[in-house]
């Protein structure tokens, strides 16, 4: 199972990095989205991949890792997801504004000299 998730992380990160290095703004946004999936999954996986672990405590109980999933990476990733959305929105708007100003959607604001 670990193999599947690590391969998935690798695939997402690879596609993301490839797109990050492209010249068009939309490619960079998509690349960043893919890369953040990969990173979120990676952070999530540092808590160990547990199937069927309980996420909710029994009232009055002092939880232990034997029964429950690790909440710390989950809390980290939860905020990361929301922040990731916010930064994607900001990047999108910046790039749209840049496109309006420069007339091109090249990441440098001007087409590559050939």
């Amino acid at each position: 199972m670990q193999l599947v998730v690590s391969l998935a992380i690798g695939l997402l990160a690879g596609s993301g990095v490839w797109l990050l290095l492209r010249a068009r703004t939309f490619q960079v946004i998509i690349g960043l989205a893919l890369l953040s999936y990969a990173v979120n999954l990676f952070i999530f996986s540092t808590g160990g991949l547990r199937t069927g672990a309980e996420a909710i405590l029994q009232p009055g109980e002092v939880g232990s890792l034997a029964r429950y999933a690790d909440p710390v990476p989950q809390a980290l990733v939860l905020t990361a997801i929301v922040i990731g959305f916010a930064t994607t929105a900001l990047l999108l708007v910046v790039l749209l504004a840049a496109r309006g100003l420069t007339g091109t959607d090249h990441v440098d604001g001007r087409e590559r000299e050939r």
């Binding site: 596609s15 710390v72 749209l96």
Partner: protein, 979 residues
């Protein structure tokens, strides 16, 4: 008056006054002048109030603990020397303020001028009353900063800007050297307190770091006091308004260096290194400055070089390692301040009333402004060292020291002659100032007809000239006591016998004085032809111009070198930058592997579940597809990315993270809608077959990027595998699990972590989200789409064409009834979705849910209405939708919850919980964390909607630009505040 209050008033009041003056309206010049004048007078009063203590040899002192662990205290310390300088700063400051009131033109923003002047006064007072060396260095840099603002006050002229920049560069660089020197000194002594440093003279002089500290401190001093070869900034600072020159170059800025030399004289002087550096610099500066001053055609330029020369004289005296010379130096500081301030003011009056300062153009002003002429005559005579004026007495002392100096290297034989030569030069330029401006035939072609200035403008000059005469005739009775306490505070019990009087009998110094006077007059007569010619600058040394060297160095440093380094190491292109970041990430990872070793962990891999494998087969294909299609098929790529998102959601569910899955799912929807809205504004891109062949360069570039991508992906995959097959650390997990219910009052540990354990992090995060939302909104307000995106997109045009072709016939209308069935469903579902959001919010503390996902659900519900109903329809009905209000309310509620804890004497964001029985709904956890979570919820709703709606509105704006807007949209736009 208590010492603390006195000292604080002295130092802080000018800064307070500066802020107050800066806030005055531009035309309030009388108010600003009155304010500045009273601040200076109050300062002078404070200085006077300290006189009883200081005159008894006492020290007025106040200490405020700042970082006592590092030996850093704020210490204010007013001893004799500081008292004398503080008196100069505030006294001449008051006179300059009065003068400036009449000098400054109505058109100038005068309150700003007085604000800078007061701030500078505060900084200067700070320097002289600092009882701590670090603090002194701080105020020292402040004086550089405010002098920069003052010199550059007329920033519309290039010379003012250049002069200000040069002064700042030179003096602030020197200030850095001084700071380093002070640190070295503090290291030697083990304390930065002035008292401790002054008590450790022998230790300092014998320490191996002495030379380093000395050179660094002297660098600071000599740049500030315009000693050769750092003198060149001072003449260029003459672009400042004349009151500034009168203040900075007579009593304050340039005297800061002298003050520091006198301050540290007991611990730094007395060595050969001190003598060599200080004496040589002073001697060269004195002769050079005086020589150049003779040939200046600008009145202020002449005074500037004369200032340099006199500063050189004082420095020379301080360098002689003799107590008597120190007395002479301090005395000359006072005298120079008096006559130089009055001469600057006189030059300003001439400039003000005639419109020019060029000596060749001026002539015979004696007739049109007789009173000013007499005042200037006396001050210039004092500068030349004519008997019965103050300059004469300190010059006599200087001559006496020059004769008796115990100087090595044959300097002793040379010193008296150098002193006489410098003095003769000084006589020559003083003569030139007076003779050139006030005598001779009536002036022709002056920009203005000269006449006497306003009475009060002349008043400061009168006071200063009166001082020159009084001190010159009765030195012991007037200035004697003040000089005595200043000297005693430096030398302690080693004060030598000195006599302040006009007549010491027929002796060698007197003879030298007369020789110098005669020589100066002769020199001036000899140079008449040269001075009347139009040749600029002085003979012999004309090419040795510090300014040009400085400018060349600046151009090299800030332009050529910078450009070259940028050319080698920098790029403005994004892709190389990203590659660099990736390379660094590789290196960092590689270094960790190389250091710590690498290998799979100890845990066995759990068997592969075919369902999850299938999910990721689909997810991975989606990712690859998005990577391939993102250039030419953006929409398809976007949908594929959502596919990846769904795979991630399922993975979260699979591995026991329901909260994450919920949040990811909702965020996924919002992100997709957002990017969909953005697609509209991107240029069309079509693959034109055969247009661009596979060039070798393009291919290589792609192969390289592919290599990087595969490397990054492979590396991260390996890393993840290695991490996942190790036992995860339980650093915080156990603690959080154990305390979530017992102390946090919730069974959903993730939510309790977010709103309670790590509530402060969450607070920071929602502030970031709010800031981002406002930033996107602000960016979009000024959004101007590219011309080729202005038109409605192809699909819309197509649809409209269709509608036009098939007029309404009672059946379905192509545009108005677009998506009719989904629209009905979505409208039906709207309240249900809001209910779900409330449900998620309320149960969040105990079960999967919480503010983030609930907020996202509301945002989705609203945006769904936008999608099916259009902007006008939706905003007509959802007028309560004010995203900014939601954001503000959310932030206020979250912060308010945190602050409420203070009311109960607990730290910020401490939570409290209990269960409340609500009718119908049942038992609800009423933790204060819930209020916090509601704040998060409101913020997420507001921020998400603000971003989406602002982006969506762009198409309405585009249409409105083309045709008049429909009423509801215009109304909503007004409420959102878009223009």
């Amino acid at each position: 008056m208590p010492d603390t209050l006195l000292l604080l008033t002295l130092v802080v009041l000018p800064f307070v006054g500066a802020i107050a003056a800066g806030l005055l309206p531009t035309h309030a010049r009388n108010t600003a002048a009155a304010m500045a004048g009273s601040v200076a007078l109050i300062g002078l009063l404070m200085v006077w109030a300290a006189y009883p203590t200081v005159s008894d040899g006492g020290v007025v002192q106040a200490t405020f603990a700042w970082m006592p662990s590092l030996g850093l205290n704020l210490t204010l310390r007013l001893d004799g020397l500081a008292w004398l300088f503080a008196g100069l700063v505030t006294g001449i400051g008051a006179l300059v303020v009065l003068y400036a009131r009449y000098y400054m033109a109505d058109a100038d923003p005068v309150p700003r001028f007085f604000a800078f002047l007061l701030a500078f006064m505060g900084a200067m007072t700070g320097v002289v009353v600092s009882g701590n060396l670090v603090q002194l260095a701080f105020f020292w840099e402040l004086t550089s900063l405010f002098s920069f603002l003052l010199i550059g006050y007329w920033h519309h002229t290039a010379s003012a800007r250049d002069g200000a920049r040069m002064a700042l560069t030179v003096t602030a660089t020197g200030g850095l050297a001084l700071f380093a020197g002070v640190l070295a000194l503090g290291h030697i002594v083990g304390s930065y307190e002035l008292d401790a440093v002054l008590a450790a003279g022998d230790r300092i002089r014998e320490h191996p770091l002495y030379a380093t500290a000395l050179v660094l401190i002297l660098l600071g001093v000599m740049t500030k006091s315009a000693q050769f070869p750092f003198h060149f900034w001072l003449p260029n600072a003459m672009a400042a308004p004349t009151p500034v020159s009168a203040y900075l170059h007579s009593a304050t800025l340039v005297k800061a260096g002298i003050f520091l030399m006198a301050r540290l004289w007991p611990v730094l002087a007395g060595t050969e290194a001190w003598f060599l550096i200080v004496c040589t610099a002073g001697l060269v500066t004195m002769l050079f400055g005086a020589y150049v001053a003779i040939f200046q055609n600008d009145l202020k330029g002449l005074l500037a070089y004369s200032t340099i020369s006199h500063l050189g004289l004082i420095t020379l005296l301080l360098g002689l390692n003799s107590e008597l010379a120190l007395v002479a130096a301090v005395f000359h500081v006072l005298n120079h301040a008096a006559f130089k301030a009055s001469l600057f003011m006189a030059a300003g009056i001439i400039d003000h009333e005639t419109g020019t300062r060029d000596i060749r153009q001026l002539s015979g002003l004696n007739r049109s402004m007789p009173f000013t002429a007499r005042l200037a005559l006396v001050a210039a005579a004092a500068m030349a060292g004519v008997p019965l004026l103050n300059g004469f007495i300190s010059k006599e002392m200087f001559f006496a020291e020059a004769i008796s100096a115990d100087a090595p290297l044959g300097l002793a034989n040379m010193l008296p002659f150098a002193a006489m030569l410098g003095s003769a030069f000084s006589v020559a330029y003083s003569l030139r100032f007076i003779h050139g401006a006030f005598f001779g035939p009536d002036p022709v072609d002056l920009p203005r007809a000269p006449h006497e200035p306003a009475t009060w403008m002349r008043f400061p000059v009168e006071i200063l000239v009166l001082t020159c005469i009084m001190v010159g005739i009765l030195p012991a009775a007037t200035v004697g006591p003040f000089l005595a306490i200043a000297v005693r505070s430096v030398l302690g019990n080693d004060v030598p016998d000195y006599s302040l009087s006009v007549w010491h009998g027929l002796n060698l110094p007197l003879l030298m004085s007369f020789l110098a006077l005669a020589g100066g007059v002769a020199l001036y007569l000899l140079l008449q032809r040269r001075l009347r010619s139009d040749v600029e600058g002085e003979p012999l040394l004309h090419h040795l111009e510090g300014r040009r060297i400085f400018e060349r160095a600046m151009v090299f440093l800030s332009w050529r070198l910078a450009r070259r380094v940028e050319g080698i190491a920098g790029t403005r292109r994004l892709q190389p930058q990203l590659r660099l970041i990736l390379a660094i990430a590789f290196l960092a990872g590689g270094a960790a592997v190389w250091q710590r070793g690498f290998g799979p962990g100890n845990l066995p891999s759990t068997p592969v579940d075919p369902v999850l494998a299938l999910i990721w087969a689909a997810g991975g294909t989606c990712a690859l597809g998005a990577a391939v299609l993102a250039k030419f098929h953006r929409f398809a790529a976007l949908i594929l990315v959502s596919g990846v998102g769904l795979a991630v959601v399922l993975t979260f569910v699979w591995f026991s993270a329901p909260d994450l899955a919920l949040t990811q799912l909702t965020v996924e929807v919002v992100t997709t809608v957002l990017l969909l809205l953005g697609l509209r504004w991107l240029p069309q891109r079509r693959r034109v077959p055969g247009e661009r062949g596979p060039e070798v360069l393009t291919l290589t570039r792609r192969l390289r990027d592919l290599g990087i991508a595969v490397g990054a992906g492979g590396g991260l995959a390996t890393l993840s595998y290695a991490v996942m097959t190790r036992t995860p650390p339980d650093l915080l997990a156990l603690d959080f699990l154990a305390r979530a219910y017992t102390e946090g009052g919730g069974t959903n540990v993730v939510n309790v972590t977010l709103v309670d354990f790590r509530g402060f992090d969450t607070l920071g995060e929602i502030f970031v989200v709010a800031a981002v939302a406002l930033a996107t909104y602000a960016l979009l307000r000024r959004f101007r789409p590219a011309p080729d995106s202005l038109e409605a997109p192809m699909q819309q045009l197509h649809q409209h064409a269709l509608a036009a072709a098939r007029p309404a016939s009672g059946e379905a209308r192509p545009t108005a009834d677009w998506l009719l069935v989904p629209a009905v469903l979505a409208r039906l579902l709207f309240p249900v979705m809001l209910l779900v959001a409330v449900f998620l919010l309320l149960r969040g503390h105990d079960l999967p849910g919480g503010g983030f996902s609930a907020g996202m659900v509301v945002a989705i519900a609203v945006i769904l209405q936008y999608m099916i109903g259009g902007i006008e329809w939706t905003e007509d009905r959802l007028s309560w939708l004010r995203p900014q209000v939601w954001i503000g309310a959310g932030l206020l509620l979250s912060v308010g919850t945190g602050v409420t804890a203070w009311a109960f004497g607990r730290p910020f964001l401490t939570s409290y919980f209990a269960y409340v029985e609500l009718p119908v709904i049942g038992k609800v956890p009423a933790a204060s964390a819930l209020a916090f979570d509601i704040g998060v919820f409101a913020l997420v709703v507001g921020a998400t909607l603000l971003m989406l709606v602002a982006l969506a509105h762009q198409s309405v704006r585009g249409r409105r630009a083309a045709s008049p807007a429909s009423a509801p949209a215009a109304r909503f736009l007004a409420t959102v505040g878009e223009d």
